[in-house]
Symmetry: C2
Amino acid sequence: MQAVQDYIDKNRERFLQELFDLLRIPSVSADLAYKSDVARCADSVADHLRKAGVDKVEVCETAGHPIVYGEKIVDPAAPTVLVYGHYDVQPADPIDLWETPAFEPAIRKTAIHPDGAIFARGACDDKGQMFSHVKAVEAMLATGQLPCNVKFMIEGEEECGSSNLASFVAGNRDRLKADVILISDTSIIANDTPSIDCGLRGLSYVEVEVTGPNRDLHSGVYGGAVANPITILAKMIASIHDENNHITIQGFYDDVQVLDSAERTELNKAPFDLEAYKKDLGIAAVWGEKGYTTLERTGIRPTFELNGIWGGYTGEGSKTVLPSKAFAKISMRLVPNQSSDTITRLFSEHFTRIAPQGVTVKVTPHHGGEPVVTPTNSRAYLAASRALEQTYGKKPIPTRGGGSIPIVALFERELGLKTVLMGFGLDSDALHSPNEHYGVFNYFQGIATIPWFYKYFAE
Amino acid sequence: MQAVQDYIDKNRERFLQELFDLLRIPSVSADLAYKSDVARCADSVADHLRKAGVDKVEVCETAGHPIVYGEKIVDPAAPTVLVYGHYDVQPADPIDLWETPAFEPAIRKTAIHPDGAIFARGACDDKGQMFSHVKAVEAMLATGQLPCNVKFMIEGEEECGSSNLASFVAGNRDRLKADVILISDTSIIANDTPSIDCGLRGLSYVEVEVTGPNRDLHSGVYGGAVANPITILAKMIASIHDENNHITIQGFYDDVQVLDSAERTELNKAPFDLEAYKKDLGIAAVWGEKGYTTLERTGIRPTFELNGIWGGYTGEGSKTVLPSKAFAKISMRLVPNQSSDTITRLFSEHFTRIAPQGVTVKVTPHHGGEPVVTPTNSRAYLAASRALEQTYGKKPIPTRGGGSIPIVALFERELGLKTVLMGFGLDSDALHSPNEHYGVFNYFQGIATIPWFYKYFAE
């Protein structure tokens, strides 16, 4: 293993520059204006896989953005690891809040990253983490130290719903045969506190449109006499959380798995400093469902979040308009055993039911995903745990993350495979936000840890 | 008077083309991107006044957009009419809803305007109505039939708060001396039902900003545990109207003049067809304060309207962000004896008070204006009433409009002058909306009626 680490150390600067090149491509999958950039990014990932020594590399076209596939079979008798990651990124908006441009990576030191962090959209989510696997496999192959077979499936639609992944997986069951799925797209608690995510929330993402009058009106002439769709939308949104911030959608909690008090006590043992949390976010108080801690609110409870709202005049100055329409983007995070389809249906029914006379409501589902809990006693989990212990010097804590990687449930269903979520980022890395970053330490810690996983998983 | 009408008839096509030229200038005062267009429009108005025979025409610079002044003194002993109007217009957004471009005037027939209407931003509000005065004065001067002195004060900031008009008026008290102020910037009930607006609502326009965390967050990682500023803004907005749509801002109604039942009965005698109103707006039900009719809700009651809202991701597709900030533009229409400053202060205090822990709130006042009621027994009102009766064949009904022309209260205070609101538009002319229009009939009816006002006012 020393040879692998030596190789990594020797190629450190190149590994950094190659990630920078990848980060310069604005592969924003949600916005079709970036379609050619997304395609260029897929080609670049394929190229890097080939150069790393991976075989049968293919940029697989889909109805949306392509999926990059590649494999290296070292021994048909050895176990096979299927690496999943994504090369697409979130939109960079609001772009004026970036200290350096979103697609011009720059290294700056921060309090949490004293050795420097790479600032760029996708640095952590997920280009940096995904690329750690490419570089780790390159290091293992270059030194003749790859003890398992490896397959790569790197998609380009994770940030917009992975719409075409299900059909790709269904159509490639043989090619994707493996013993475990390995994903680095989650976080550890802190750089001195490794952890492994064992639960992912599901997702129901919807867009709503509330229509009042059939045209924008003069708010002086009609105001006070015609339902204003912004006011009505606000009232409808406001009613979704009751005074305890419990979600009022009928049937919303019916399928929620309730943890017993022992499980909740265990979960709350994870290090968490409320004052540091509030200070980091600049807030005077946390918020959430009564009766639950912050770790529980993000880990084991479903949520209802507004991701965007717009309507009427939003330009400079003032315009006295009573608008015809108001819109919102809403996402609900789901926990076992909620189902994305059911929750989307319950929301649609509820939202339509509570709409008052004088407005009409349209609900458009965007995408969804199922919640999942991964086992902590599998061979793969134990291999990941030992690998992290090796490089961090501490046994990792199993945690429940708040995010969603909807394809984990899909893989389990379609391929019959369990997943290990061996992430290397930090929650504070501003994922989906301006100034997203990824610690240089974290990037290389990922590259160094992955070979240990292969070693222990092969044993 | 026949000579005046003959002159109007003879120059009909030119009067139309000149208005078209004025409408082609995108004089959007709220948006500084249009600053040079606004200036160009002022020059054009000045030019038209000069050509009409008006003296001492001057484009008076202000700290914002210029005010066009001009006067014609025919006899120092004759009464003087001060015409106020505005050449600036509302923004054209949302531009994609215009059937023909906002600044390329086009004539189309509609159900309400079988003789055709001029579609363009500002056609009715207020270029078309303001220009009727220029053309009426031209017709009277050309035929030697102007029986009063006339002064014009045409401003360019009515749609963004008339910020610099007060200092102009205060600095030009002598120049602006007159016996009455005449404004055409309101509506009649219908083309066969003339009316004169005798009340204008005041205005308090504010912008609010709600800040949650100090940066945009990943809604999966932080959702459910940190106050979402969109959700909180929605809850705050929702709480402003109670279950009877009564406004809950503390002290909001304290100064509202309550009409007695006789006055309310009189007000409700104005022709109003609820079914036609709903059908025109495409709504299943009207909305508003319990216990009041639609005419009362827009005429004698104050309102709280959302003019715009925005926050988070509003682009294509989805983004799972918990945003740092959410914003709204809000206007409150005021009735006698509410004061704009007081209501703005009461709102700011209330909105700050109801903000929960976990967010901070900033309220920025945009502009305001005082409500006003004009007398129905003055010489000027009676002259306007007779003028409309002359050209419409029916005595006009005194009404209470819902809109605001804040400068009416200003004129009363600074110049000691009462105003006559002799408007010629229709509420259905899509003021402030896409596809704003002004009936060709209404335009020429204005030009024909104004000379009768001068005649009767001089008698």
